[in-house]
Amino acid sequence: MVLDADRIQDNLDLRISEDAGRYLCDFIYFSSMAHLRKAGKKRNVVFLHVPSDCAEQNIANGKELVIQLVRSLVESELARRGKLGKPTGN
């Protein structure tokens, strides 16, 4: 996997949201989590909201950010199981 760090824009606004919007995104997220809860499974799922603008730079940013999010989710889970250290927050 090759990451093209030079293509990612700096100062991107990354945040946690507490309001998924009560439309199809919120709906599918609840559907997934309810399905897992009913099956007695951990809710190992997250919803990522991205901008609707399809400009080339946004697509490039989006791709990189998804990859880094997946990486962060894996690391967070490994850390929780005691297999990895705390984030350095660099």
Binding site: A5, R15, I16, K38, R43, N58, R71
Partner: protein
């Protein structure tokens, strides 16, 4: 996307969760899901948000096919058979998003080091 399609699709996406570890014969057919990321477009604002919670009620907007969800009616009709019967008003992801956010922000700067990435890649795989 419409509400009914989503309701039918979600169980298929997750596959047969009950059978995951108990069916040695079937184990090779379906990969075990470690986790899932749903991705959706919000609005034009240049913000990337990871959602901590989702709601059971309050879906008042029409979907792309112009249909309302009408879960109030459905609840009355189906009672205990309603797909979300017994679910709380909100569900939260089990991921520690505060920890994930720090890592995500840390991994997404300009000029990150290829060396540190390749070390993490070994851990990941």
């Amino acid at each position: 996307m419409n509400y009914q399609t989503v309701r039918g699709l979600v169980p298929k996406l997750w596959g047969d969760l009950d059978n995951e570890n108990e069916n040695p014969a079937g184990r090779d057919e379906k990969p075990k899901i470690d986790f899932a990321v749903h991705i959706g477009m919000a609005g034009p604002k240049l913000v990337y948000s990871i959602e901590r919670r989702a709601h059971r009620d309050g879906y008042a907007m029409k979907d792309v096919d112009g249909e309302f969800l009408r879960d109030q009616d459905r609840k009355l009709r189906e009672g205990q058979k309603w797909v979300w019967h017994g679910e709380p008003p909100e569900l939260l992801t089990d991921f520690d998003l505060d920890d994930v956010l720090v890592r995500w922000k840390g991994h997404s700067p300009v000029g990150f080091s290829l060396h540190s990435f390749s070390q993490s890649l070994l851990v990941w795989f």
